[in-house]
Amino acid sequence: MIGSFKQAKKDEEDGCGNPYHSVDKTSVLQEARVFNETPVNVKRSTHVLTKILYLLNQGETLATKEATDAFFAMTKLFQSNDLVLRRLVYLGIKELCNVAEDTIIVTSSLTKDMTGREDQYRAPAIRALCRITDATMMQAIERYMKQAIVDRAPGVSSAALVSCRHIMKDSPDVVKRWVSEVQEALSSDCVMVQFHALGVLHQIRKSDKLAVTKMVSKLTSSGPRSPYAICLLIRIVARLIEEDEAGADCRLFDFLESMLRHKAEMVIYEAANAIVTLRKSSARDLAPAISVLQLFLSSPKPTLRFAAVRTLSKVAMTQPNAVTACNLDLENLIQDVNRSIATLAITTLLKTGSEGSVDRLMKSISSFLNDISDEFKIVVVEALRALALKYPRKQAVLMGQLADMLRSEGGLPYKEAIASTIITIIEDNPEAKEKGLDHLCEFIEDCEHTTLAVRILHLLGREGPRTRQPARYIRFVYNRVILENAAVRAAAVSVLAKFGAQCETLLSNVLVLLQRCMMDTEDEVRDRATYYHAVLATRDSALIHRYILNPPQFALPSLERALVQYLRADTSAPFETRAVPTAPPPQEEKKAQNIMEVAPRQEERVVPTHEKYAEQLSAIPQFANLGPLFKSSAPVELTESETEYMVRCIKHTFRDYIVLQFDCTNTLNDQLLEAVNVVVEGEDWDVLLYIPCPSLPYSQPGSCYALLRIPEDIMATTGTFSATLKFKVRDCDPATGEPDTEDGYEDDYTLEDIEISVADHVQRAARNNFAAGWDELGATNELEDTFALSAMSSLEEAVTQVTQFLGMHPCDRSDRIPEGKSAHTLYLAGTYRGGHEVLVRAKLALSDGVTMQLTVRSDDPGVSEVIASAVG
C-alpha cells in the first residue's frame, strides 16, 4: 500500500504532463540522425533537439564522441530557415560546446546570422558565437563584435556586451580594445544596454583603481538614466569607499545619499542598502538610509517590505541600536501574511529588543514555525544563537526551544544549524554543557542524517568524558553501534574508545563493548574495534595517549608518497614517521563578494594546496631528492602592486633545505624578459643552486627558484635576505609580442627583503586534548620566560600575533577570549621541522600593554630553545 502510494507520488513528480518524461539518452542520440535528412525535417528535428536539450538540462552527460557526433549532425540544421529550429540550434551549440570537439565549424554560420537581416537570429547568434570562440580565434570575430556592441537594436547590443563579460575571462586584452564602443553603448537610449555597458566598462577598468575613480566621478555627475545602471554604479561606488583606506571621499558618500531621493524605488533601496552595509558608516550616516527603509516597511508591495526587513535584520546584527527606531513598524509585520517577512521581522526584533521581550517573541515564532521554509527556519536559529550569546540568562529558555525545533520536521542544513547553535552554547557556557549534551543525545537516538550523527558523536567523545557522569552517555553511544549504518557505527566505536581512554572506572566495561563490536559485519567497524581494544587492553597510558587521544594527523597524500619512496629504497630500517608532514588543521575561509552577484564567489586566485606544491616541486629534477615537503608558506609579495615587474615568494621548507619559489609577472607589453633569476644573499646561509626562468613574456607568469641549505646550528635558522631580480631585456612589438632581432641587455631590479622566520619551520597541528598532550610531553625540555608585549593593546591582538608569529595552532578554542576578561591562557600546538612535537602555553595578562608568560615543551631541547627565544 505504502509502496504503491510512493510510486504514484514519484510518477506524479517526474511524469504527469511532461512529454519528455521517459526520454533516454541512447535512443535520443539515435533519433538525432534525423538531422541529416535533406531537406530538413523541421518538425521532427525540432522535437528531437528539444529532447537532447531536455536531457542535458536534467544533468545527463555525453561522452566527447557522442557530443561531437550530435553537434555535427546539428550543424546541418543551418539549412533550414525555420525560426524556432534555428534558435534551438543556438541553444544546442551552447550546451554542447564544452564537450564536443571542433565546434569552431559553426563560426562562419554564426557570424553570418549575427550580421544578417533577421533580428531574431542576431542576439542569440552572438551569444553562441562567443562560447565557441577561444582566445586564438578572437581576432576573426573582433570586427563583428565591435559593430554589434553599438548596434541600434538593443537586444543585439546587450547580447554583445554580455558576451564581452564572458570573453573577458580568457581574453581580457581583446575586450580592452573595444572600450570606445562600450563607451558609446553606455549612452544608448535603452536602460538595459546602459546597464550592460557599465558592467563591461567596470570590468575592463577593474584592476586599475585610478581609472575606476575617474569613471565614477564622471558618471556620478552626469549620471546614466537607467535605474539598473545606477544600481550598479552605487555598488561600484560603495566598493570604492570601502577600499579607500584614507577615509571616504565625501563626494562619493554624498552621491549615495543623494540617490536616496531618486524616483525609482530600486535605486532608493540599493542606495540605502549600500549605506548600511558600508563598514565605515557612522550612526549618523545610517540615519537617513534607515528612515528610507522604514518607509518601505509599510509599503503595500511585499517585495519592498521583504527587501527592507531583510536589510534591517542584517544591520541589527552589528548595529542593533540603529534599528530600534523601526521597532514599531517591525512589530506590525509580525502579522504579515508573507511568512518570510514575518520571520525576518521577528528575528530583527530579537536582536534590537530588550531582554524582557524575548519570551513574548519566542512564543509568536513557535506559532508559525511550521509554516515557513527551512531557509527561514535557519534565520530563526541564527537569531537564537546571537541571542544566547547576548543574554546568557536566557539560555535555558532558548535551549528548550532549540530542542523542540530539533525534534520537529526539517532538512539537514536546518538540523545542522540547530545542532551547531547548541554546540556553540555548550562551548560558551560550561554550565549549559550537560543539558545541551542531553538534548543532542536524545536527538541522535532518532537522526536520519549520517553526517550530523557523526558530528555529534565526535562532540560527545570530546566533551562527554570530562563531565561529572560520563557513564550516562555510554548507553546512547552503544545504541548507535546496534542500530545505525556503518559510518555511524564506526564513529560510535571511536567514541567508546575515547571514554575508555579517559575514564578509569569505565575502562573494563568499554573493553567488553568493544569486544562485541569486533563481530560487526563491516570491515571498518571491526578494524576500529580491534585496534582500540588492543591499545586500551595494554592499560599503558603513554600508548593510549599517543594512539587514541592525540593520534598522529598525517597528511594522507604525503604519507602515501613517503611510503612509496620508502618501498623503492632500502627497507631494512624501519619506516620513519617523523619525516611525514602532519596535515595542518583546516582554517576558516573568508568570503569575498562580487559586485554583480548576490551569492559570494570564490577568490579568484586560489592558493595551491600543500599537495599541489609537493607535486610541482618533485617534478623539477633538481628538487626530486630533497625528501618530503614539510611546509609551504603563503605567498609574500616582494614588489609593490602595479609596478613593472611583480614578484611574489613562496618558501618551501624541507627537512634540511628551503626552496624559495619566485612567481614573476612581467607587466610591460613591450618587453620580453629572458634568463630571469632572483639572487638572494643572507648571513650563514648557502645558496646551493638557482633555477632561472628561461623566458618571461608579457603577462604570462613564470617561476624561478633558489635552493638554500638550512644551517646546522638550529639557532641560526632564521634570517633576513636581500633579493634582486636579474634578467635580460629584449624589446618587442607590443601587438604581437615578437622580440626584436637584436640581442637584449642585462638589467636588474631590487626587491623587498625576504624573511625566514620561526613560523617557516613550524607546521600547525591539532590536539584534541591539550592537557593530556602537555603532561605526556613532560617537563624534560621545558623552557619558560616572561615578556612584556608593550606594543599590544588587547588580549585579542596578542593572541593573534603570537599564534601567527609562531605558526602554531590554537587548541581547545583558546584563541577565543571571553568578553571582559583581563587574563587569558593560550594553548598552541605545532610540529617543528624534522617531526618534533612542540606545545606552547602562553599566559597573557592585560596591564599597560600585555604581559606574557611563555612556557614551551618539546621532545627536543634545541627546538624548545628556538621557540622560546623567537618571541624575544
Binding site: 546541418k76 539549412q79 571542433d102 569552431i104 562562419s108 554560420s109
Partner: protein
C-alpha cells in the same frame, strides 16, 4: 510559389532539392562563386575567409540547391568529411593561378575520392578551374592534368574554367551538375 514553380508543379515537374558540398583550398573562390548565384538583394559585398562552413541556397531550372560552403584552410579541411554522407554532388574549386599549390589540391582530391563515404558512390563532381582571368592562370586542361582527373572512371565529372567574380563559366558548370543530379534522381526513382 512563383508563377513558373506553380506551373511546373501542375505539370508534375515537382521541384527537387539537392544538397552539394563546395570544397577546395582556401582562397580558391568558393564563397565568391556562391555569392554570384544569390539574388541581387542577398549578395554580400565583402567576402572574408570562411571559418567552418556556411549554408547557401540558390536555384537553377527546377533544382533548388543547398550548398555547404566549406572553409578551405588547412586546419578545417579534416572537417569536410562530416558533410560527405548526405551530399548529392561535389563542387571542387581550384585556383588555377596558384600553380604552387595544385599538388596540395590534388592531395585533398585524392583523400576525397578514397573516403569511405564517397568511394563507392556515383556522385557527380564538378571542377572549377577558377580565376581564369588572372594573368598567370593555367588552362583548365592543365589543371585537369595536374589533378589527374582522367583516372576518375567511376564517377561523372566535369571541369570548366571560371571567373567567380564575373560569373563566367559558372552557369555552364552548374547546368552540367543539375543534369547529373536529375539523372541520379531518375535512377533512384526507377530502383
Amino acid at each position: 510559389m512563383g508563377m513558373f514553380d506553380r506551373l511546373a508543379f501542375f505539370l508534375g515537374l515537382k521541384k527537387r532539392e539537392a544538397s552539394v558540398l563546395v570544397i577546395g583550398l582556401d582562397n580558391s573562390g568558393k564563397s565568391t562563386m556562391l555569392n554570384h548565384f544569390k539574388t541581387e538583394d542577398q549578395k554580400t559585398t565583402d567576402i572574408v575567409p570562411t571559418v567552418g562552413f556556411n549554408v547557401e541556397k540558390f536555384k537553377t531550372k527546377n533544382v533548388g540547391f543547398t550548398a555547404f560552403d566549406m572553409s578551405g584552410q588547412g586546419r578545417y579541411r579534416s572537417l569536410w568529411e562530416h558533410y560527405y554522407h548526405d551530399c548529392q554532388g561535389v563542387i571542387f574549386v581550384v585556383d588555377s593561378s596558384d600553380k604552387l599549390r595544385l599538388v596540395v589540391a590534388k592531395d585533398e582530391l585524392d583523400m576525397l575520392l578514397q573516403h569511405a563515404e564517397i568511394r563507392h558512390r556515383r556522385i557527380p563532381i564538378l571542377f572549377f578551374a577558377n580565376k581564369m582571368d588572372m594573368r598567370d592562370a593555367v588552362s583548365s586542361v592543365k589543371v585537369s592534368a595536374a589533378l589527374g582527373l582522367e583516372r576518375i572512371s567511376d564517377k561523372p565529372w566535369h571541369i570548366t574554367a571560371s571567373n567567380a567574380i564575373t560569373g563566367e563559366g559558372l552557369h555552364e558548370g552548374v547546368e552540367w551538375l543539375t543534369n547529373q543530379i536529375k539523372e541520379n534522381f531518375g535512377n533512384n526513382m526507377n530502383r
